[in-house]
Amino acid sequence: MSNSTQIIQAGLKKRYAKEKRFRLYGLISIIISFAFLLTLLTSIFSKGLPAFQQSYVKLDVELDAEVLGISRDSSENEIYSANYSKVIDNGLRTMFPGVTGRKQKRDLKNIVSTSADYTLRDKIIKNPALIGTKQSYWFLAKDDIDVFMKGNIDRNLPESDRRIKDYQLVWIDQLLAENRLEKRFNTVLFTNGDSREPEQAGLKGAIVGSIFTMLVTLLLSFPIAVAAAAYLEEFAPQNNRWVDMIEININNLAAVPSIVFGLLGLAVYINFFGVPRSTPLIGGLVLTLMTLPTIIIASRAAIKSVPPSIKEAAVGLGASRVQTLFHHTLPLAMPGILTGTIIGMAQALGETAPLLMIGMIAFVAEVPGSILDPATVMPVQIYLWSDSPERAFTERTSAAIMVLLGFLVTMNLVAILLRKKFEQRW
């Protein structure tokens, strides 16, 4: 072997060792990242899954016309405002006679949620013929009962350290023995808007609010961004000072803290243009400003990557510049544009700070019916629930996070499908 070969051979062992170490570092990095991701997902899922179940209590109620104060022939209004609370109260007292003292009586009523009255009312309204009969219904249990059922209140602690007192434990044990207390799938989470009572709190308001806000954002930001990118790439004069300044500003806007857009929304949209506060409309307008730079930058890169030979062929056949853009450039740039849009929309879906100034960080109990109704969005709902003191909100916060993640995954899937549809090979 020549001298050079000997030198090379001597150094080979070290080189291979270096490479092995580098690959090991890479593998360790991936494992660490995965570990973090797994920890995050596990903690969220383990905390959130119990929220998809809710405790219900079965009560026998006597729908006495006298107690209710109405009869089968009463008007709709009268049926609406009858005394359902007393009926439920009576049902509970019948099951647990011998309850004395104001505190105990109040705690007895608090076995079921305050929504029990309305549940009963809705049943009677649907079928007034039930008046005068005895029925058994399942009612939503109060959040303390629910928390106990999910094992978060330790009955072995001294009574003064628990929210559930000993007499309440007696009632719960009796209900369990009579199979009157069970856990079911928590539909309330998806049918109700927000509420102060945890067992009645749902995500429907936030989900609908998010959908409306995202719709407004998408419908505004997508065309504006694509048009701006197309103009800057195809029609704007090159090497022009003003055009360069516009480009620099757009790139910088992508890095501006999002709360600034909220301030802008307050100053311009609300104060100057009088757009109603707390609505998906204003939320969408503010988030549009935030996502525009992201989509513009991605679209410009996609449009730039369309091969000029295709554009030349179109121009050579007599297509005008705008026709070339719409017939050839944009369809070929769609995969890249859609990727930018997904990233922008995913960012907008999770944003809370810009919505602070425009009034969407608020307790909104009703489900919005249009983009002009007061609404809140999913990340805001998560924040509000995480701030609430009741124990039952802990699991609901995690459940809301899971729903938000599900949203994101669905949005990504839709965009990937769209992208596959547009992808062509040339």
Binding site: I310, E312, A313, A314, V315, G316, L317
Partner: protein, 296 residues
Amino acid sequence: MSEIITTIPGINTAPLESANVKPSVETRSEFDVEINGTVGKPLIKNPKMSSRNCDVFYGDKQAIFNVDLDIGNNEIIAMIGPSGCGKSTYLRVLNRMNDTIPICRVTGQHTLDGEDIYGKKQDPVLLRARVGMVFQKPNPFPKSIYDNVAYGARLHGLASNRSELDDLVEASLIKAGLFKEVKDELQKPGTGLSGGQQQRLCIARAIAVDPEVILMDEPTSALDPIATANIEELMDELKESYTIAIVTHSMQQAARVSQRTAYFHMGKLVEVNDTDKVFTNPEHQLTENYITGRFG
């Protein structure tokens, strides 16, 4: 060894003449020869397209110097010359493709059928429908073969219903010599064809718009010899109905297909003549140097 060689007839092994002898014309440097105007017949009667005093600038750099040239009706004119001599630039002047390059400036008078094509009233979109172009690298759209050929017709509204469009597509593909090979696969993507087929597809696409002039910028330089022969045969048929101007690097191709040949050198038009004359008895020294292979 030399004894064997001297006995073979025809080989001269006499010693070289002395270095004091003046070198013959053939070995003088190309830069010693001047270009004073275009020799030959650049101008003809009743041309289809004509240029006078054509100058083209890319920013401050001038690419074409004072070119006067006529292109006759139903003829094939070949433009030859070394790399970078401006023949493609001149070709693109004829259908205003240089408009797409912002720093490019074209001056001079250019006409199609006597009308100024750079006039304020002239619409470049309409011009490009009358003067079509085929490019060096085949560039079919990433659509089906049918949609490729139909694109120009749809763009300009040349067919009023689907069956008319079908007929137009079929006729164009037949004229381009491609129909037989693809008639059962019109919905397949145009990019799935071979190189030669793609170029014929591009020609069919250009023909479908019913142009009067077809400009071809080195159409066969990216193709194999058999595909090249197909396209050259096609050009011969096409000249019955269209005027064709072709830029080519291959002198053999120019000799095979064209009736007149124009030789460009460093942005200047050196010589224009009937093809036979250019290749057997060129008038200008530079032309002779080029065709005999002194430089490329």
